[in-house]
Subunit: 399 residues, 2 copies
């Protein structure tokens, strides 16, 4: 195995906090393959680059001979919330759970290796189906109400007057005990899971095992600059997105995110990352070039260099000003404000959608970016209106 | 069976609230024997007259053909609190649990009938040992955190900064589900159990059964006038107290409690109860006569009229002024305060114990009650000091 410090260094690139760093160094230094807990619930997955940060760290450890234990939380998904009040856990049928599990495995295998030497699939029903009520209550007795209510999610729900069903309150305990059950050495999670995984350490210690190391990973903003990638905001780059979509979404990033994305989502050397960040701050062609480089690196990571090269070429051809189509749809207009012109050219869109396009800097007239929806425009002859990346109109003044 | 209204009337004598009174009337009117849940935990029992209020109501219903289901909460007692932090549930070994269960049954049978037609012993381990974790979590999903935290006991503990272990938070759910498991029609409990038994109704309804009726019984002050009888205050009349102790403890009651005790702890007609209350307010011989009547009624209830009669005679003989022993122990004293005299006469007692005796009005000198511990006493010749009901000294002034 590689030298420990090199491994730690590489993990640190995308690490927020490490609980038990000394333990981690010791365990990496031993020749024993570590067991890395990767716990998921069994709702329909749609993994994005944010999730993949953890997966790539695990993949790196797999390449060094360590084993990922892919743990499906099927027991808890099976409970769901029969009252339908829960916001976090829908009820799923056993068939849905199996379908989701298969889909999860498929997406995960886009990053992780799945040979049995370095990958193991487990379900928490294995131990919970065999556990009796007295034993479970015995686990509960090791945790206090106050400890559980310290969890952000619970506090926020109480503060917002939303309900927490009792079984939901027990889930962190179950998730914590899972760490003991699979003999976890290490788990790499989002910071929202830190609390539950700390409970894992608590149970392991209580039950006489060595506590797992917990790494929380860096959280990166969504492609719209929002706090993080999420399905509900549709601001994410999905692992199952086509290479073209991945490439296009990277190109749509705000300039300010280029360096962060390059740091977290690629393995480009850090000096290159710094250079891309520098270029992005300049805007214009250097920023565009930096994004092309970033998009290529990301697509390369998931689909290989050849596909990345082809997508880069396609992109340049499709979306460069130079490649503006020649037979543009013609729209007859009178002098009007920017917003009014857009309303005529794109009758299917609402005012608020068009305002958003403008505010995103996606509207230009003969190459000049229009940022004020109320700016009056006087047409002295035909002009080219671009709105969004792929839409052009030829504006012709009414005779 | 007796007419329903008569049954309800009799129950009402010692009832605080009835949840589901219409249901109770309907069920009593049907010819079906009702199942009456009497749930207890398996800690060491020491039942007192306060507990017996519920037992006598159940006994009355047994006499009408209904069945008491004596439910031992052995599962939950088995869990206890391994961390030793809980104030409510000590850890017990299986042997201790069995011993306590036997002792409970013995004490309960001082009031309840135990023929199988009207008495059934169950343990909640019967269903919880067979229940799987998923089913238990399913029960938990039917209750919210907010519902549970509404319970006084939990709120008070949180407010006082004391911990609640998670398993304790789940106990009301278990106790509630018990009602479904034993098909309870009715339960008669102290008001502190109302919350848990309401959860019983909740589960019965959720699971498609008719909800149990819940009767909470009147709580009566301790024999010292404190808020209720309790072991820790040693202010209770135990079911296993000897007839003599029961008689004596009733005689020691504050006059103001005579009517309440007669109402709740006897079946004396209500006009007689009112008469006793009236007599008690007069103090002196009428109050004493009222207490003798009350003590006789209570001892009769538990030990029969003959024993009650004998205890009454013994008491009168022992504790009347007329029967003051003639050969009193002599104590040589000098002039001193009341407290100092007592310290000489009763060297085994502490100052605070003696002060309490004085404040209880239990100290007299030649028949005059002494209420001020600092009152200076001048002895002009031998005098009789009485302290407590049974202790006399002959005080002789030092020559």
């Amino acid at each position: 195995m590689t030298e420990v410090s090199a491994v730690l260094e590489r993990l640190r690139r995308t690490t927020d906090t490490i609980v038990g760093e000394t333990d981690l160094a010791e365990r990496l230094a031993s020749s024993r393959p570590l067991r890395i807990k990767y716990g998921v619930d069994c709702t329909a997955p749609d993994l994005h680059l944010g999730h993949a940060v953890n997966l790539w760290m695990m993949r790196h450890l797999q390449d060094l001979g360590h084993k990922v234990v892919f743990l499906l939380g099927d027991l808890t998904t099976r409970i769901g919330d029969p009252t339908g009040r829960s916001e976090t856990r829908p009820v799923l049928t056993p068939e849905e759970i199996e379908t989701n599990a298969g889909s999860f495995l498929e997406q995960v295998s886009l990053v992780l290796r799945t040979e049995p030497e370095v990958f193991e699939v487990r379900r928490n029903s294995e131990w919970y189906d065999a556990m009796d009520v007295a034993t479970l209550l015995g686990l509960f007795s090791q945790v206090t109400h106050a400890q559980l209510m310290a969890r952000d999610m619970f506090r926020e729900r109480v503060a917002a007057g939303r309900e927490i069903a009792l079984h939901e309150l027990t889930y962190p305990v179950l998730q914590g005990y899972d760490s003991f059950a699979i003999n976890s050495d290490l788990t790499i999670v989002g910071s929202d899971q830190l609390f539950n995984e700390q409970l894992g350490r608590h149970f392991q210690q209580r039950l006489g095992a060595a506590p797992q190391v917990v790494i929380t990973s860096t959280i990166t903003p969504g492609i719209d600059g929002g706090p993080k990638q999420s399905k509900s905001r549709n601001n994410y780059i999905g692992l199952t997105d086509t290479p073209r979509d991945k490439f296009g979404k990277v190109m749509s990033l705000p300039d300010s995110l280029v360096q962060t994305y390059a740091h977290v989502y690629t393995e480009l050397p850090l000096d290159v990352v710094a250079g891309l960040g520098e270029a992005a701050t300049q805007g214009g062609p250097p920023a565009r070039e930096a994004k092309l480089r970033l998009a290529s690196a990301i697509v390369t990571r998931y689909h290989g260099a050849n596909i990345a090269k082809a997508e880069r070429e396609t992109f340049i051809q499709l979306f460069s000003e130079a490649s503006q189509p020649t037979d543009l749809p013609e729209v007859i207009v009178e002098d009007a404000t920017v917003l009014e012109l857009l309303l005529v050219a794109r009758p299917g869109d609402s005012r608020s959608e068009l305002r958003r396009l403008i505010s995103q800097g996606a509207v230009s007239l003969d190459g000049r970016k229009l940022s004020d929806p109320n700016e009056p425009i006087t047409l002295t002859g035909p002009m080219t209106l671009r709105s969004g990346r792929r839409t052009w109109h030829r504006l012709v003044p009414r005779a």
